[in-house]
Subunit: 374 residues, 2 copies
């Protein structure tokens, strides 16, 4: 069996499949170097909820439930701590307009029966003393947590290796198809015969030749730009994840225990362009410093741009396709790290039992095809 793509999704699928006895090869010229390398690792179904994405919310919540056990098992299997941290996420607002947006989102979160608590400015600063006194108020999402995405990839690489998975450091450029079934994947070194292929190649999932147009995943690259700052772990600027709006600019700040502060935003730009622009770096720093002034004193150590795999409804493509043996696990957009555990469970069920679990029925890779032909 072949897994195309060695990011957090492909590796989680490979690990779970190998645990079930499958002989798995993962193909990736640079495993873990794509969107997973940039990811902030927020496990945040509540603060990431968007209007019109209620089906995705259910999947996100289900995967968040799986994370504690997934993390524990992964740490055990790999011998690498993955930095799973509970403690909730505090969303804050800098000015009155920001607070109105936050309260509007809170109304939506409450209508979905999500656990959120409105905090005053004073309560926000009691929780996070380094917040700007200008912060007008906030919302605590007690169940939105985080994991260190880079450590998670490291641990998954160790775990798959210990499970007997072979990592092939080559790009899959095409599939061989005989009749209605996939029979091999092709790399620069030649064909690799297989009866099952899990495509978990993120933004590049549609770039594999040889499959009929009807089963091509409708993914598009969505650029994310993210910064990494360094702080003294003995004097952490934040106790937990803070996200917020600062004069209309969104930002999140995710502190790792080892002294890394990840600063990003959900600003979206479409296209295969990984240029890190001066404007994006400026806007991230502006919003971060507005909310947490002492961020200005921290060392900027890294600025990274990567491509997230977007889909028409911002939800992933999970399950079988019109081609026998071809299974998709892609299109995770903003939620790749969060959705890794449940994606792996769904793919194991599809590959080993031929059944799509109820939680994944709404994420059939063919759903847009049907819309177009209807």
């Amino acid at each position: 069996m072949a897994v195309v793509g060695g990011g957090v999704i492909g590796l989680a699928c490979a690990w779970r499949l190998a645990q079930r006895g499958a002989s798995v090869r993962v193909f990736d010229p640079a495993a873990g170097a794509g969107a997973s390398h940039a990811a902030a690792g927020m496990l945040a179904p509540v603060t990431e909820v968007h209007h019109g994405e209620e089906p995705l919310l259910a999947l996100n919540l289900a995967s968040a439930q799986l994370w504690p056990a997934f993390a524990a098992e992964l740490v055990e299997a790999a011998g690498i701590d993955v930095g799973y941290r509970t403690g909730g996420t505090l969303a804050v607002a800098l000015d009155d307009d920001d607070l109105r947006s936050l309260d509007e989102l809170r109304g939506f979160q409450e209508s979905l029966r999500l656990s959120v608590t409105r905090l005053t400015s004073r309560e926000c600063r009691a929780r996070e003393p380094s917040l700007s006194p200008r912060v007008r108020g906030g919302v605590l999402a007690a169940n939105d947590h985080q994991v260190d995405s880079r450590l998670t990839v490291q641990a998954l690489l160790a775990a798959v290796e210990r499970s007997g998975v072979t990592l092939v450091r080559e790009s899959v450029t095409a599939l061989s198809v005989t009749g209605r079934a996939v029979t091999a994947v092709h790399t620069t070194s030649g064909p690799h015969p297989c009866r099952s292929v899990v495509v978990a190649a993120g933004s590049w999932s549609a770039d594999i030749d040889g499959s009929p147009p009807a089963v091509m995943p409708p993914v598009r690259p969505v650029k994310g730009q993210i910064l990494r700052l360094r702080f003294d772990p003995a004097a952490a600027p934040l106790q937990g994840t803070v996200r917020g709006l600062a004069a209309g600019r969104s930002v999140y700040l995710v502190p790792r225990s080892h002294g890394e502060l990840v600063v990003g935003a959900t600003v979206e730009e479409v296209g295969f362009d990984t240029t890190l622009t001066a404007g994006a770096v400026h806007d991230l720093l502006q919003a971060a410093i507005d909310l947490v002034p002492e961020v200005a004193e921290l060392e900027l150590v890294e600025a990274t741009a990567r491509l997230r795999p977007g889909t028409p409804d911002n939800a992933p493509l999970l399950g079988p396709t019109g081609l026998d043996g071809l299974v998709l696990a892609t299109g995770h957009h903003r939620n790749g790290v969060l959705l890794a555990p449940i994606t792996a469970e769904v793919i194991v069920s599809v590959v080993t039992a031929g059944t799509v679990p109820p939680v994944a029925v709404g994420f059939d890779p063919g759903r847009f095809q049907r819309c177009i032909s209807a």
Copy 2:
């Protein structure tokens, strides 16, 4: 003869000394990787003039006069273009307070009979169409030019090699002194006997053991933080160097012909700390984008912090010391690239003829010593 330090100053001295027949060794573990690596390469005595630094102005102007011939001879000797560009420097002001500061500086420049021309907002944008329409006005300094400081270092490295200079990739940690004369420099590999030592080690010039305290150069490190952005050379955002004030923040933008835009400021922080802070990067980008909005679209490719060698009067230390054979060429602060040609001429005169040229008399390394003992 030993030259301690392989930045733009040490290499220029070594080149000129070797041309006069001296046998020269340059000691530097990482030639060109210090302040010269960060430098913007502005050759800008007029727009860099500061109240109370009139003696330095004369030296700066004298060196700017030498640059065209120095650059031409260096290009010829090295076979490497150094990107010497004339065309002047436009200083602009974003708001009314900025314009008042700029006009105040212009009054000072005019009182010194420097060539500056007041431009309206419209005239500024006629010269540089990508300037923000918010820019209130500017001052053109027609004689402030630029050179590519990294290409200059590359060319100097090639030129010194062709002149028979030996580059020793080691740090000088101490001097040997016998009586009142220097007799050797010490590196980790041992002593290197010599009768003349030119110390051009920038911020580290005071870190060489073995010399009497009275001849220790009073240099202190002054951090500079600088960004490099990339543009399409066929669509340059700026025709020439633009510097300015944007809501009180100073910034300069220096476009290279090959598509690099250097963005820095003269903000100063003292200490041996080369941390690049989030706040400094933010402030540079903010000011640059305020003045030239399309900078936001450019790719950020590098952020660098380096240490400039400051002195009590911001002027360099040029000439002999109380120790026979020990000559200083350090403390160039913001003006290392600009002052390289004249520094080399002064040092050649001191080392080969034993005379300090009139232009350098005010920059005697002992001048602060006399103040203290007076």
